[in-house]
């Protein structure tokens, strides 16, 4: 999952980003002002945007409205210093998905982010089940056939993203866009390395393969490969 934090207070933005990286394994980009933030939000397919309201250049509400006017469906969590009823109503009416009043609990923020991402993928249960694969975003762990998997942060990020979109063919570009932040050197063969190590860990005890390669199209996470072509 890749998240954008638009917040002008550098210290707070850094802490939010850190919490999201450490406790949710998200790739995080940061933007210090509204205009830059809007540009980033429009040029990259983020899975979630955290948006401060009082921003230089362009205020958060304008960013939100512009985003929604361009029919962007990315979930937006507002970080606001106003928690009066009218502001909240105005925000939700302008297309925000949720809001957090400053100062907020960092754990609550991460939980809300998880919930928003889950919802945006049409998922209601906190655990993701694909066949005998179980992904637990809360603990950043996964298990196959009851056996916990030993995953690195990057492997987990890849698996979580794929588990959120089972049976969908995920192109390499899409995976790269959702797994790495701007500061990452984009060598696509790195992705292949992660895919293969993830495959190895998933197929332990000679279980049926879950990740399949569709040559020239991408990857798909599914228990029964025959269902892919029809999907």
């Amino acid at each position: 999952m890749r998240v954008l934090v638009i917040e002008d207070h550098a210290g707070l933005a850094r802490n939010v980003a850190r919490a999201l990286r450490d406790s949710a394994a998200y790739a995080v980009d940061m933007s210090p002002d509204g205009q830059d933030g809007l540009f980033m939000a429009q040029s990259t397919p983020y899975d979630l945007i955290l948006l401060d309201l009082m921003l230089p250049q362009m205020d958060g509400l304008a960013v939100l409205r512009t985003l929604r006017a361009s029919s962007s469906r990315v979930p937006v969590l507002i970080l606001t210093s106003r928690d009066d009823k009218e502001t909240t109503v105005a925000l939700l009416n302008a297309g925000a998905d949720d809001y957090l009043a400053k100062p907020f609990d960092i754990g609550e923020m991460v939980a809300r982010c998880r919930a928003l991402i889950r919802r945006s993928h049409g998922q209601a249960a906190p655990r993701i089940q694909v066949g005998d694969l179980l992904v637990l975003p809360e603990q950043m762990t996964a298990a196959r056939a009851g056996e916990p998997l030993e995953l690195t942060a990057m492997e987990y990020r890849l698996l979580e993203y794929m588990a959120h979109r089972p049976r969908a063919v995920l192109s390499k570009t899409e995976l790269l866009e959702h797994l790495y932040d701007y500061n990452w050197e984009k060598f696509s063969n790195v992705l292949e390395v992660y895919i293969s190590s993830l495959r190895r860990k998933l197929n332990r005890n000679s279980l049926a393969p879950l990740i399949h390669t569709l040559r020239g199209r991408g990857y798909v996470l599914v228990r029964d490969r025959s269902s892919v072509t029809s999907a």
Binding site: H9, G11, V16, S23, D33, P56, S81, K102, P103, G107
Partner: protein, 489 residues
């Protein structure tokens, strides 16, 4: 009167109309009566002229018997049923009509009658009669004639006319009352509409306005005036809201940072070094917050009017020297070259002993914030034009764009460049500086260009030396009205 305007208007309309129509009815009755009477009088005059002409033409003077016979023959027939009597010079009867015989009365002697004759009202044959008595002279003989007309017919006409008036009057008045009511309602309906609309507007929908009336009358003026007032109220409320929003943003964001810093340090495995870093961040942010709180409280006192400058004689050279001592070390750490140019002798100005250093601190702090390492800041104090001391703080830092220059003294305003490069600073410092300058009856002049640095300067009246300098007492009297009022309280 506590009655609604609508009722009062209808009532006044009714009363005025009633008075006017009564007057008009009375006047028309009077005029009708007068013209009828005029007509009667004219008829009687003609009749007398008729008699005179007849007497003269027939040559009846002197021959009484002939006169009696001729006149009786002529007028007995002609004036059947009318009132007529004729007397000769000696007061003897020449002719009396039958009516006159039924109610006989004499005629006053000719000498007592005025030239135009005199009118006489009497009652005869069960009807009111009006008569004209007039004398005429033929060949030196004075005859007197009285002719009368029954008033019965004219009285009946007038009575009819009066009855009709009395019948019509209540109907007219009723219509007048109704029309008055409708008119006042028509006139006041827009007022009621404006009142209804005005009632609808409250704190939550201050942006709504009263309907603009297309008419160019007093009511349109009223609604425009009310709209202008709403505009002012709205802008006042908006500025309070903006201030609250800004203040809460500026206070909540550092708290959010402190909290997140603590959360991260506590919930994740952190090395002692990382923990120390977190604590340092928290400490710095807390200091930042307390200075922000100071500024906010200061502004609150300013707005409440409890802050007042106490102007007295202050040595500007000393104040500048103190400020430069305070900031020299800070600028050295920031690798900024700091030069101070002060006059050799004390320079006594009229200023507040606490606010002047504060003003210097704000401007110096500001200069330090927007001057990158390697830059320079210069503080200078000069005697400007002999009777004013000029303070100037110039830097070669980032500078301020002309667009931002108009707003830098606004509360919570931070130039885009300032926001992008720095997170410290709330945007309150220069607002306070402007207030302090205003309390000293001076203005902070800004000269700046983006990338070339900025210069802030202001002047204060000098005490010593030149003539024409103002004393602290003189200025102090009208500079701090709050102070004098608080003394009374």
């Amino acid at each position: 009167m506590n009655l609604p305007i609508r009722i009062r208007l209808s009532m006044s309309y009714f009363f005025i109309f009633a008075a006017a129509s009564t007057l008009l009815a009375g006047a028309s009755w009077y005029m009708a009566q007068r013209s009828l009477q005029f007509e009667l009088d004219h008829e009687m005059e003609e009749r007398i002229d008729d008699v005179r002409d007849f007497v003269a033409a027939q040559g009846l003077i002197g021959d009484e018997a002939k006169a009696r016979a001729t006149i009786a023959a002529e007028f007995g027939l002609k004036d059947e049923g009318k009132w007529l009597q004729i007397e000769d010079t000696h007061g003897r009867w020449i002719f009396r009509s039958r009516h006159m015989l039924a109610a006989p009365h004499g005629i006053p002697p000719a000498a007592s009658l005025p030239a135009g004759g005199s009118y006489f009202d009497f009652w005869g044959m069960d009807e009111p009669v009006r008569s004209l008595r007039r004398a005429f002279t033929i060949d030196g003989h004075v005859w007197v004639v009285e002719t009368g007309v029954s008033l019965q017919k004219t009285d009946r006409v007038l009575a009819h006319f009066r009855d009709d008036l009395l019948l019509i009057a209540p109907m007219v008045l009723l219509m007048a009352g109704l029309a008055g009511h409708l008119l006042s309602r028509r006139a006041l309906d827009p007022v009621a509409a404006i009142a209804r609309e005005a009632q609808r507007i409250h704190e939550g929908n201050l942006q709504s306005r009263l309907p603009r009336l297309k008419t160019r009358d007093e009511l349109a003026h009223l609604s425009t005036t009310l709209n202008d007032m709403l505009e002012r109220i709205e802008s006042g409320v908006r500025s309070v809201r903006d201030f609250t929003a800004h203040a809460s943003h500026e206070l909540r964001t550092p708290v959010a940072l402190i909290r997140s810093e603590a959360d991260l340090a506590l919930h994740f495995d952190r090395s002692p070094r990382e923990c120390r870093e977190a604590i340092a961040v928290i400490g710095a942010e807390a200091r930042q917050m307390s200075s922000l709180l100071d500024s906010l409280l200061f502004l609150a006192r300013v707005d409440a009017g409890t802050e007042a400058a106490q102007l007295e004689n202050v040595d500007a050279q000393q104040v500048c020297a103190g400020a430069s001592r305070k900031w020299r070390a800070h600028f050295r750490t920031a690798d900024i070259q700091f030069s101070v140019e002060l006059p050799p002798a004390p320079l006594i100005v009229v200023a507040d002993n606490l606010y002047l250093p504060r003003l210097l601190n704000i401007i110096l702090e500001n200069a330090g914030k927007y001057t990158p390492a390697g830059g320079m800041i210069r503080l200078s104090l000069t005697s400007d034009r002999g009777n004013r001391a000029r303070f100037e703080i110039a830097d070669n830092g980032v500078g301020i764009s002309p667009l931002d220059q108009a707003h830098i003294f606004d509360r919570f305003y931070r130039a885009a460049a300032a926001r992008a490069t720095r997170t410290t600073g709330s945007g309150l410092g220069l607002a306070l500086a402007a207030w302090i300058a205003a309390r000293h009856q001076t203005k902070i002049e800004v000269a700046s260009a983006l990338g070339a640095g900025s210069s802030f300067s202001w002047t204060l009246p000098l005490i010593s030396g030149t003539a024409g300098a103002v004393s602290a007492e003189e200025l102090g009297g009208h500079l701090s009205p709050e102070q004098s009022s608080s003394c009374v309280a």
